[in-house]
Subunit: 209 residues, 2 copies
């Protein structure tokens, strides 16, 4: 059985959404990204992955795969019939990779990451100044589309959905981009997306308490 | 013929290296990433790509592909016999995607980007504090390997090579990680890598003059 190391509401939520949309059962291990402890047994998360970051997907053969862009494509390819990623070699597969990169680098790493990890205002001012321009790209794209790639839900949507949820927590009002707000509502209405978010939101509250 | 919009020594250098390693001829257009002008004809680069960022690869059918992770995989898949990316579905293909994501998000977007775009020290202090931990990951990986993925040069090596070159310009002494310094020397000794860097370094000097 696959195993996913996650932290509730962190970027590993995209991987949980992908697993649940794919109907793949997995064992989930809560890894605390600040203390670097695996909550199951208080072991050192850095011995699971030297990066000390989620997601980490433990494959059936014990290999460990990191980085959302890779983990999400791996999960999608386990169930090709579901179309969670376009088939390898299809022009849309590169579009999927393009969106995974944009969401991962421009929204997550250039904005959400400093927002949640850097504590001083000076370090945050520049990322904050750029986020509007960044979000205008998917907003324009989604003005005429239901999903990021092709005409069905893919793991790129799982990843963008997570970033949009976190933007609210980061003080960015997604309602400024009605296309993004509408998209987020549509994605959150999907039963598996809703269930995945519900599980992690509840866990996150427990941690905070 | 493929066309690549690039800025000399920016991240589009990885795509040029990939094209040259693949032996694929292409037309290259210099797009100025600060002025957002295409140098050929002084036209608006944002009309080529609303992101205003390089690389932009114009495909044979006129479609435009952005984001290094997608562009590099597209180029590699044009010449599967060269092994610039492991075949789709091969376990190493996900390792390639893992490294493309790590290099693109952690080294490029979390460090090189703020270093070159943010002008105040406060905005730079936090990214600078993290880069050592970040670089320890590929350094440890390369302690026993010649290349990032498998036993041959892939587009992930093209991308890491570019970031290592830029680290020097960003004031990070790569010699602190002998495995990375050795790796960079090996990559720079490859004729196509050396030629690609030579072309762009010369162009960059012209621009700066």
């Amino acid at each position: 059985m696959l195993q996913l190391y996650f932290f509730p509401m962190a970027c590993s939520l995209s991987s949980r959404i992908a697993l649940m949309e794919a109907g793949i059962e997995a064992r989930y291990h809560l890894a605390h990204i600040w203390t670097k402890k695996v909550v199951d047994d208080d072991s050192d998360f850095r011995s699971v992955s030297s990066k000390g970051a989620v997601p980490v997907l433990v494959l059936e053969n014990g290999d460990r795969l990191t980085e959302s862009a890779a983990v999400l494509q791996y999960i999608a390819d386990l169930k090709p019939e579901l179309g969670l990623a376009p088939p390898p070699g299809h022009p849309d597969r590169y579009r999927l990779q393009e969106w995974l990169s944009f969401v991962g680098a421009e929204i997550h790493k250039a904005f959400l990451f400093p927002t949640f990890w850097y504590k001083d205002d000076a370090a945050l001012a520049k990322p904050r100044a750029r986020i509007g321009q960044t979000l205008s790209i998917p907003a324009a794209h989604l003005a005429t589309r239901e999903f990021l790639v092709g005409d069905r839900f893919t793991v790129a949507d799982a990843h963008l959905t997570w970033t949009l949820l976190l933007l609210r927590a980061a003080g960015v009002d997604v309602a400024q981009w009605p296309q993004l707000a509408d998209y987020l509502s549509r994605m959150q209405a999907r039963p598996q997306v809703k269930a995945a978010i519900g599980i992690e939101a509840a866990l996150r509250k427990t941690l905070a308490a």
